[in-house]
Symmetry: C2
DNA sequence: ATTAGCACTCAAAAACTCAGAGTGCTAACG
DNA sequence: CGTTAGCACTCTGAGTTTTTGAGTGCTAAT
């Protein structure tokens, strides 16, 4: 049905995309023959472009304007980039590395810095989601008595992530009982993932023998409360960057976008699904059906913080994004973060 | 030098301000006579307005437009509001209370929710800064061994705030030593504020007797590392709200504002100074010289989380802000938060 | 002291013009 | 037959002019 894309067609399409990425203006046949050294006349280019339009790769906003690549065209373009991946310049690489180092060792700090980094090196928005707590490996639990009715529960995972929660209790528990409870739990839960820990706790709560030991019952109940919420943290930086993009100069569009990002949950859903596949993934425009991200694209990569606990990070920008530049940045950052968090 | 403000002048000024707050358009003499039931003709009003302009309370953007209140006028207006403070409607109050409850007990959660709350009830931006850690009262310290070279230090304050830090160490320390170290420190630091703790630790590190006890020396060093960074947390919500304001429809202005808020440090400086005075404070336009907040105002109030550890919360919006509505919101929220955090 | 009346001002909106970039088609060319 | 020059046609955006209407300031009357 659809005509096959000729080699020349491909080159011209590429030229259109690259020009458009730079200027954000519809590009015409003339411009292309000038900037890209194709030994062709504008008229020929016009014919080809007309074909490309037929194939659904270009559109023109109106009869006498240049042409704009469609999502489909970007998809094609991105795929060809992904095959022939460029490397980062040594300079960029160093900068990224240096800034990551600066952040210290605390996982949360590293991830936040990564997000800033992605945003500033790409000049779009950087986003990082911390791995779900559930995938972390349990290390230790502590109960700290703050006052007669308030206990602070602290949950430490092997990778240094800490989750804490303030618990209100009805009847006072002695500090030494708290310590015993913690010991008991720590013994029982050693080496499980937090997800497994939760299951285990629930199972244990049901079991016969616990029913008669009120202290242990309390211990289980408390720790279950502590672990209950597993809200993935999300770091979104550089929102101001996208104000720079001419396609969002319109205030109404801006507003919509900002509103969309205010509820982080939608963003989370979107990123969650890229967790399934490994490596760099790209969502172009309407390909990500969740968010009606008109004119927005997303470049993500997974990263590892342990054996197989994964998070996702990436860059969000206009569909008209410098993919060639952004992809290596995301890729490299993901690998670097993996190394920083996982290693030692 | 300056003529005194007549009672009628005051009423008219108020009318201008209130109209302008609603419409964001320069208001003319005609409009005023219609909307506010003053038994005066436009011509009279014009005369009065002319006087007000003389006194520096109004300006007109150009000869044949209506008039706009100056910062000075807002100041006057706000002061009069502050004197005759209205109360919140019961409905609003309930809503605020309900949402605060929802947030649970964790201080960080409460503050974050408060910020959201301020933003959504005021329809401007909500901002809350958490009290400096330094002002909190020390409660307990723990060292958790993660691997041979990594220790997680956890610092708990009396109010349930937790600060943790990943430390890298050169030589392994046995878990039981860590416990002993913690016990020693907890004994020594009981009841001090975090600020005092820090001083004490530094002093102790210098002291003679410690030099010979390598374990204690290590303990002090580690805990000093833990406590070193005291970055006040800041919760800023509802940035999208201010996109709604017509005065920022212009993309360039928007950008500037967002950039300004991206560096939270300037905002922090600004809020820090309102920590000095108690209760509701208002900064109008250029009155806050730090940020060149053109056209922005800030309504803040201090809140307490303990005896005398204070934080600041407030609302940031356009100078043309519904002060009458916002002030009680900020006031009430601050009091409520105080009660929630301090009480128990 | 207030107000009606009136001439005057000015910005924003609407209407208009025009140049330029771009297209599509046709006919010529190698 | 693919490529290209030429040309008529289209449409936008920028710049100009016109129009409108809200608003002022002044003066004279009440």
């Amino acid at each position: 049905m659809e005509e096959q894309l000729s080699d020349r067609g491909k080159r011209i399409l590429e030229a259109v995309i690259e020009d458009y990425i730079q200027t954000a203006e519809p590009v015409g046949s003339r411009t292309i023959t000038r900037s890209h050294a194709l030994a062709l006349s504008p008229a020929t280019v016009r014919n080809v472009m007309s074909d490309l339009e037929e194939m659904g790769l270009l559109t023109s906003p109106h009869t006498s304007a240049g042409r704009i690549p469609t999502d489909k065209a970007y998809r094609l373009y991105v795929n060809s980039i992904l095959e022939a991946r460029q490397n980062l310049t040594a300079g960029k690489r160093d900068e990224i590395r240096r800034r990551c180092r600066m952040a210290g060792k605390d996982p949360a700090e590293v991830l936040k810095e990564a997000s800033r980094l992605l945003s500033s090196t790409s000049s779009y928005m950087g986003v990082v989601i911390a791995p779900r707590m559930a995938a972390n490996v349990f290390h230790q639990m502590e109960f700290v008595k703050l006052s007669s009715h308030r206990i602070l529960a602290i949950l430490v995972s092997q990778n240094g992530t800490v989750q804490n929660r303030l618990l209100e209790i009805d009847e006072e528990i002695a500090q030494e009982d708290l310590v015993r409870m913690a010991n008991y739990l720590n013994g029982m839960l050693q080496g499980l993932t937090i997800g497994q820990v939760r299951e285990r706790l629930l199972a244990e709560l049901q079991s016969e023998k616990v029913q008669y030991d009120s202290l242990m019952k309390k211990a289980l109940a408390l720790s279950e409360q502590t672990i209950r919420t597993d809200s993935a943290e999300i770091f979104l930086e550089g929102q101001a960057n996208i104000l720079e993009q001419p396609e969002f100069a319109d205030a109404a569009k801006m507003r919509e976008i900002f509103r969309a990002f205010e509820k982080k949950s939608t963003l989370l859903d979107l990123l969650d699904r890229s967790m399934l596949a490994e490596g760099v993934q790209i969502f172009i425009g309407a390909e990500s059906p969740l968010l009606k991200m008109e004119g927005m694209s997303l470049v993500t990569s997974t990263y590892l913080t342990g054996k197989d606990t994964v998070g996702v990070l990436g860059v969000i920008g206009p569909t008209r994004m410098g993919y060639g530049r952004v992809i290596p940045i995301v890729d490299y950052t993901a690998k670097l973060i993996s190394r920083m968090l996982e290693g030692e």
